[in-house]
Every structure is written in structure tokens, then in C-alpha cells.
């Protein structure tokens, strides 16, 4: 997003050879990755600054109930050992030093190395987000096409109205509502967790427990995509090549799906990259409500515990995902531009 200009630069040279297009795109990727380094530095230091300003005492989390029995002298010694009293610069320096040697530090709230926490939790977040995203895209394509095709009809009005309404509902409200309806009232799906109590980790168990959170995440991300696709479908339906196809007497179905949709899909693909930050925030809320054991839910716990190392790692992860998302958006725009494609 930041460097949209470069993409446009790539666009206005439609007659160059493939090779130079590749070079332009590779250059873009290279510059972005280089640019990411200072971003990561600023973001992670920001996390340390915020945590230092937080009123929570990290020792409260470390001691838990044992705080009741701890003497001030022992607390002071523990602070010294754990380095929680060091200045934010010293703590940040220690952490950065560790990162370069592959040690992300110890999570104080989980009482285990940050790398272990991430290894255990990240796959579940990736699974949730991937399934949620696929659902959102599926919804966007079906509903967006339907709404544009029957513009002004009852389906269009229903889809547009619901879309606008859903855009205003935060994912956690949707999550609580879906638990109330599908888990508590109807009893179809489990309330929370990864498996039933006492059940082993199996694909069937995970699928059943994944259904509601993924659906909620998908639906909460869908409205924006649906409304966008509807809009771009409307403009592509008015395109000359679509009018041409109609004039050649092609069937309506063929015109919409083969001629109008592909043009409308291109902007959608790039938009998905831009949606990544919302997907990440959505995942935090959804994982928290559904006790999904992913990395996003750990953000809440880490924040409450002033758990610098874990918080920094998770924030960097989120920042990295966002940067990658926008890079993906720009690269796909550069590569998938129809003018480039038709020229090839």
C-alpha cells in the first residue's frame, strides 16, 4: 500500500518484456523486505515502551496466588533475578541480542520459551484463519455475483442490507451470538476448545470444534468482500467486452461467469491482502471467545501479564503478516493486471 506508486510504474509499461516485469516485481519485493527491518525495530521497541508504561506489575503474574505469602525482600530479589526492574532499554537490548541468536526469550505468562509457545499455538491460528478466509471468499464470490447479477432484486437488497449491517457488528458479538444459538440453544456444535473433554486429538474432533469459530471469522470478514465484489461485478457487467459477449448472443450464465466475473475477481484478490490486519484482529477476538488454543488468544494473556518477550514476538508476527499482506496485494496487482495478461 505504501508503495503503490511503484506498482503503477510497472503498469504503465505494458509493452516491456516478461523479464523486466519480473525484475520490477522482484525489486519491489526486495525493497519491501528491506523496508520491513526498520518497521520491525520500531514496532518491537514500541511494544517494550508500552509494556513499561503499563500499570501491571509483572511479578503479580509470576507469583500468582503465592503473592499472598511473599515477603518484600524476596520479591525484590526475584525482580533482580528476572530483570524486571531493568530499564526498558536494557530489557529491549537483551531481547534483541537474543533474537539474533535465535532465542526469542521466555514467556513469563506461559512460563516456557517463546519459541515453544509459538510452535504449539501458531498452527491452530493458521488453520483457523485459512479456513475462515476460504469461507469469506466463498461467501463473497457467491453472494457478490448473485447480488450484482440480480441488481435491485430482492436478493440484492437482502445481501446488501445484511452486508452493511454485519460490517457494523464486531466479531466477538457474532461469536457470542453463535454460541448462544448453535451451542447452547440447539446443541449442534461444541462451545469451546479444540476437542471434547477427554477426547484425543483427531481430525473429526478438530473439524467439529473448528466449525463455529471459522464460520464466525469467515462471516465477519465477508461483508466487505461481498460488497466490493458486487461493485466491481456491476462495473464489469457494464464493460464493453461483456456487452460484446451479450451482442454475440452468448447465454446470460456464460456472460456473467466467464466474461464478467474474471475481470471483477482481479481486484478482489488484491483486496484480500489488504484485509489481513482485520483478519488478525478478528482472530484475536474469535480465539478468545471460543478458547481456541491459538497464538492470537495468547496476545490477551501476554498483554495482561506484561509479558514483554511474548508480546513482542506476537506483535512482530502480526506486523509481518500485515506487511506480507500488502506486499501480496501489490505483487498480485502487478502480475495479474489484465493488460499484462492479454499482452502475454
Amino acid at each position: 500500500m505504501v508503495e503503490r506508486g511503484e506498482v503503477d510504474a510497472a503498469r504503465v509499461m505494458p509493452h516491456s518484456a516478461h523479464r523486466s516485469r519480473y525484475h520490477a516485481v522482484l525489486g519491489l519485493i526486495g525493497r519491501r523486505l528491506l523496508f520491513a527491518v526498520p518497521v520491525f525495530g520500531v514496532v518491537s521497541f514500541g511494544v517494550f515502551l508500552l509494556a513499561a508504561a503499563s500499570p501491571f506489575d509483572p511479578l503479580d503474574q509470576y507469583y500468582g496466588v503465592r503473592m499472598n505469602r511473599a515477603s518484600e525482600a524476596d520479591l525484590a530479589r526475584a525482580r533482580e533475578q528476572l530483570g524486571t526492574d531493568d530499564s526498558v532499554f536494557v530489557q529491549f537490548g537483551r531481547w534483541v541480542g537474543g533474537v539474533f541468536t535465535g532465542d526469542l526469550g521466555v514467556s513469563r505468562s506461559f512460563r516456557q520459551p517463546v519459541t515453544e509457545v509459538l510452535a504449539e499455538r501458531l498452527p491452530w491460528t493458521v488453520l483457523l484463519c485459512a479456513v475462515g478466509l476460504v469461507l469469506a471468499i466463498a461467501l463473497a464470490v457467491t453472494l457478490g455475483v448473485l447480488a450484482a447479477w440480480r441488481q435491485g432484486g430482492w436478493a440484492d437488497r437482502l445481501i446488501t442490507a445484511t452486508g452493511h449491517a454485519l460490517e457494523g457488528i464486531p466479531p466477538f458479538v457474532l461469536a457470542l451470538l453463535s454460541i448462544a444459538v448453535f451451542s447452547l440453544a440447539l446443541g449442534w456444535l461444541p462451545v469451546a476448545g479444540l476437542t471434547d473433554a477427554g477426547a484425543g486429538l483427531s481430525a473429526g474432533q478438530v473439524a467439529r470444534h473448528l466449525a463455529l469459530p471459522a464460520l464466525v471469522l469467515g462471516i465477519s470478514q465477508a461483508p466487505w468482500l461481498v460488497l466490493h465484489l458486487r461493485q466491481s461485478m456491476l462495473s464489469s457487467l457494464a464493460d464493453e467486452h461483456v456487452t460484446g459477449a451479450r451482442a454475440r448472443g452468448l447465454g446470460e450464465r456464460l456472460v456473467v461467469l466467464r466474461h464478467a466475473l474474471p475481470t471483477a475477481l482481479l481486484p478482489l484478490i488484491t483486496l484480500i491482502g489488504v484485509r489481513v490486519p482485520e483478519l488478525v484482529t478478528g482472530a484475536v477476538l474469535v480465539e478468545e471467545v471460543f478458547s481456541w488454543p491459538g497464538a492470537a488468544a495468547a496476545v490477551v494473556q501476554a498483554a495482561l501479564a506484561v509479558d514483554f518477550p511474548l508480546l513482542a514476538a506476537l506483535t512482530l508476527l502480526a506486523a509481518g503478516t500485515t506487511l506480507l499482506g500488502s506486499l501480496f496485494a501489490d505483487v498480485t496487482t502487478a502480475l495479474l493486471d489484465p493488460r499484462v495478461a492479454t499482452d502475454g
Binding site: 507469583y63 503473592m67 506461559f110 512460563r111 471434547d196 477426547a199 473429526g204 488454543p293
Partner: protein, 543 residues
């Protein structure tokens, strides 16, 4: 890459996606329909050799040196001694009763033979020494360190014997030996324990081994076939963490669990259940309100006494506690009657409280609030904002105080915000250790502990109480100790430094399908580690 792009226009996207969407939708719905709201397949043909429990709190770590199972009863570890649930300590990893030296300043313990850790290594004196030294050594930053302040060192006498050397004669030492023993190899590195592998991959000698722990979700244990006390008959235990009380009750209603912790008010709704039996356990788990000595209002002896007389403790038991608890006047619980002075109680006598305040010069103003020499009878009571019971008790206290013209303002705070204010503002406290009175009362009442963290936060000072507490911890004879503790209580009620409100009863639901259940007197920290399952390793499936 460009091939894909050029081929795009000719590929029918929607028809390709439509089946995918259909499959997804059907899969989601089918998954839903095959999941009955009632117990699922596994639970229908329930295996009595496995138990599924629901708990409200999740342990922060599984390391005894970071406070896991600090009062014993942990299923993963054993201490040298274990609480028998009523009043005695019985040898666990110790071979027999501990032997104090004549001066009470050192205790020699013989270690049980042929005990192995979950990793197959043998238990020996070195493991005991390493565990207690790690508790003491600041380099490990153990969170139980302060609780071993009387210990100077632990020495290995031979492969099966250790000796604990104490700073002073300490009769309650056996109660400290419930600390879970970990293998010395796990403590080889002198470093803060936040990195210890025991936190998530515990190695103990206990009746159960950890199978897996999914944070924020559930934990499961398998029976330790080689347990020194005999292999448990209940093979598998799963503990599900469901912090919200109402959600836990709802899932219980659906038959998802074999047992759960519930607040008494919710447990009551299961009184007529055919599936579950409701049990209430006595505890030494008190709730009190500190009265800071340095505050012009709460430091006044007349106010302290009057508040103690004005509080309707019975009303608190009947209201917020749902009838399950007992009034408290001192930190000594009726659950351990051998240490209790039955006369040392406060009556609920509002007119006597008012008479006391009148004669001490606290005169009622136009708005009904008393004042004396320009000082209004007003103070703040803090409580932890996330604890609804403490909040309700604080509210009840404030309204009782108002009746006698004392204005109490409430402040629900995070624990980090409470601590710096302990010296000047009152706070609702809770705690309790059933094994011995010393850990429960010494810190709370002795002047030497005044203002040290949460120990005696109101800075209570009473020389008679101090002397009796010191004599009680230096005396090993039970009858003599009991006499000193009675003296503590009599002196305390003449000059109270807090308002002890209630002792809780902890409520649990359990399926009644096993033999071996025994009630237990519980500590403050309980959950499914205590409750009916405190001795689950001795249970046998019925029928």
C-alpha cells in the same frame, strides 16, 4: 505465473467454487447434526476408569517451586508428607514420621525406598536436597521462597536420609514438607525457574503423569502404573478449564463432565439432579477485611471493635455464600476445632457497637455519619475487581458499617493497584492452609510481619498475641500449642485488628460412580486438585 493469468478468463470460476461451497456447508452442518447436545458417544458408553472434570482456574505452571500444588494433594508430585484430609500428616515420600531434634531446630527425615520418578529415575536424598535448596536459593526465583523463611539449609546425611536445619524452633515444620519433590537433574542449572522444563513437562513421583496440556482448554493425566502407593484404578483424568461459572454449570447440565467446581449458589440448582451428587467441603478459607492501623479511622480501637460487632456475619453466610459457610471472628477455623477457642467470637450487636462509638467520642452528624475531632468516620475498602464474592462481601460490609454511622467507600481494583495502598486502605483478603494453624495465623497477626507484602497488611501489633504466637510455634506438644493458640484468640478479640467475616464451604458436583470418596478440609486454593478428587488415586469404579 502468466499462464495462470491468461487462462483465467476461460476458466469458469463459480461452477468450480460452487461444489466447494456446498461441500463446506454440508460438512459444517453434518458435523453439527452428528453432535448431540446430550453426552456424546464416548461419554454414553462411559468408561468408569476415566474421569472428566471441569475447573474454574488453570494452573499457571506445573512446577511445585512456582507454587503448583503448594498445599499438597497434587496428582503429579508427592511431598515428603501428605495431609490426611482431617488433621494429620502421613508420610508420603518419607518412610516414617519426622524426628525433631530436642531443641526443635532440626528435623531428620528418612526417605522411602524404591520410589521412581515418572522418567524412571530413582528418588534419593539428593532430589530432596535439590528441591528444597532451589526453594531457598534466590538464583532460582522460586515463588514459594518466602514460605520457607525458617529454613537455613537441608543436608544429605546418607542416600536415604536428610536433615532440615531451621533458624528457630518451628513446630509447624512438618506442614512445610508437603512441597512436591522434583528430580535434582531438572534443577541442575541455577537459573530463574521461568525457563524450567518442569513448568510444562512435569516429572514427579505422583500417582498420575501428565499426558498433555493444551493451555486455556484442557489437561489430561494417565495413571502412574509404578506408583509407590499402588497403581490408581482410575486410569485417566481430564481436567477441562472453563473459567465462566455459568458456562460450566450449563455444560454440566448437558452431562459433559463427571465433576466440577461450582459456587455454592449455582451448585444448589443441582440439588435434585439424578446425575450428580452435590458435596460441600469445610475449609479454612477465610475472607476478612483489614483495618490499617495507620489510618485515623480504622486505627481507632473503638471503631475496630464496633465494626466487628456491627457486621452481620450470619447474613453474609445466608446471602453471598448461599448458606454454605460459617461466620468467622478470628483466623482460626471451626474446621480445626482442636485449635479453636469457642468463646473468642463477636456477637452481632449493633446497639453495643453504637454505644462503644458514642462513648469513644464518635458523634453522629446530620447526614448520619459519625465524626470525632473533625475526622469523619470514613475509609476505603478495596477488593480485586475480578472476584465477585469479595465484591459482594465488601458491599455487605459497607452497608453494615453504614448502620452504625461509618462510611465505607468501595474500590474494585487490579491486584497491581491494590498492593501499594495496603498500608492506608482496607482490603478484602482471603487465604487459609488447613494443615497447620501457624502458616494461617502467624503472618496475619504477628507484628514482626507487619506491612511485609500481604502479610499483616493492616500492621496489627499486640504484644500478648505476639508472645503467644511465638510460644505456639516453638512448642511441639499439641495440647500446649493448642493452649497458646486459644490465648491468641482471646487476646485478639479484646483488641481486633481486622474484621474476619466468614469461612467458606467449597461446593462440588460429582457423579456418584466410584468408591473411595472422603470429605476433606480444604485450603484457600482448591479447584479439582482438592474437592472430592483429592484422593482420587484411591478410588475404585463401583459395580
Amino acid at each position: 505465473m502468466f499462464d495462470t493469468v491468461t487462462s483465467l478468463p476461460s476458466r469458469p470460476m463459480l461452477p468450480a467454487l460452487a461444489p466447494a461451497i456446498t461441500i463446506l456447508t454440508v460438512a459444517v452442518l453434518a458435523a453439527g447434526c452428528t453432535a448431540p447436545s446430550e453426552p456424546n458417544d464416548e461419554q454414553q458408553g462411559r468408561d468408569a476408569r476415566s474421569i472428566v472434570l471441569a475447573d474454574s482456574t488453570e494452573p499457571e505452571s506445573l512446577n511445585p517451586l512456582l507454587g503448583y500444588g503448594a498445599e499438597g494433594a497434587s496428582k503429579l508430585y508427592d511431598g515428603l508428607f501428605a495431609f490426611d484430609g482431617k488433621q494429620e500428616l502421613r508420610p508420603a515420600l518419607a518412610a516414617k514420621r519426622p524426628e525433631p531434634a530436642p531443641d526443635g531446630k532440626s528435623w531428620t527425615v528418612k526417605i522411602r525406598k524404591n520410589v521412581t520418578f515418572h522418567d524412571g529415575s530413582d528418588l534419593g536424598a539428593d532430589d530432596v536436597v535439590a528441591t528444597y535448596r532451589a526453594a531457598l536459593d534466590p538464583a532460582y526465583a522460586s515463588t514459594v521462597k518466602s514460605e520457607f523463611s525458617m529454613l537455613t539449609d537441608v543436608k544429605r546425611l546418607d542416600a536415604e536420609t536428610v536433615r532440615f536445619d531451621l533458624k528457630y524452633s518451628y513446630a509447624a515444620w512438618p506442614a512445610k514438607m508437603v512441597l512436591g519433590i522434583v528430580p535434582s537433574e531438572a534443577l541442575a542449572k541455577r537459573a530463574p525457574l521461568d525457563r524450567s522444563s518442569l513448568n510444562t513437562k512435569p516429572i514427579g513421583t505422583g500417582p498420575y503423569k501428565l499426558v498433555n496440556w493444551r493451555r486455556g482448554d484442557q489437561m489430561s493425566w494417565a495413571a502412574n502404573r509404578d506408583y509407590w502407593g499402588g497403581a490408581p484404578k482410575v486410569n485417566k483424568i481430564t481436567v477441562v478449564f472453563a473459567p465462566d461459572d455459568n458456562t460450566r454449570a450449563q455444560r454440566m447440565q448437558a452431562g459433559e463432565f463427571d465433576g466440577a467446581v461450582l459456587p455454592p449458589t449455582l451448585a444448589k440448582t443441582f440439588d435434585n439432579s439424578d446425575t450428580y451428587r452435590t458435596v460441600y467441603h469445610k475449609s479454612v478459607d477465610y475472607r476478612s477485611i483489614t483495618l490499617p492501623s495507620g489510618h485515623p479511622v480504622t486505627g481507632d480501637p473503638a471503631i475496630r471493635k464496633a465494626l466487628n460487632l456491627a457486621v452481620n456475619r450470619k447474613g453474609m453466610v445466608d446471602g453471598p455464600l448461599g448458606g454454605h459457610g460459617v461466620p468467622a471472628s478470628t483466623p482460626f477455623s471451626p474446621a480445626r476445632p482442636e485449635f479453636l477457642e469457642p468463646e473468642a467470637t463477636f456477637d452481632f450487636d449493633r446497639s453495643e457497637a453504637e454505644r462503644l462509638l458514642d462513648s469513644a467520642g464518635w458523634k453522629e452528624g446530620a447526614d448520619g455519619i459519625r465524626s470525632k475531632g473533625g475526622q469523619r468516620a470514613r475509609f476505603t475498602v478495596m477488593y480485586f475487581a475480578d472476584d465477585s464474592l469479595r465484591k459482594e462481601l465488601a458491599q455487605a460490609f459497607a452497608s453494615d458499617a453504614k448502620e452504625i454511622g461509618v462510611q465505607v467507600e468501595l474500590a474494585g481494583l487490579d491486584s497491581s493497584a491494590v498492593k501499594p495502598r495496603l498500608a492506608k486502605d482496607a482490603v478484602v483478603l482471603g487465604g487459609g492452609n488447613p494443615i497447620d494453624p501457624d502458616p494461617q495465623v502467624y503472618d496475619a497477626l504477628h507484628s514482626s510481619r507487619a506491612g511485609d507484602g500481604y502479610a499483616n497488611p493492616g500492621r496489627y501489633r499486640n504484644p500478648t498475641v505476639d508472645a503467644a504466637l511465638d510460644k505456639a510455634r516453638a512448642t511441639t506438644d499439641p495440647a500446649q500449642r493448642s493452649a497458646y493458640y486459644r490465648e491468641v484468640q482471646r487476646s485478639y478479640v479484646d483488641d481486633p485488628g481486622s474484621v474476619y467475616l466468614v469461612f467458606l464451604e467449597h461446593a462440588y458436583l460429582m457423579r456418584d460412580e466410584w468408591n473411595g470418596y472422603q470429605p476433606v478440609i480444604e485450603p484457600h486454593t482448591h479447584g479439582t486438585t482438592w474437592g472430592p478428587w483429592w484422593n482420587v488415586e484411591k478410588w475404585t469404579p463401583r459395580g
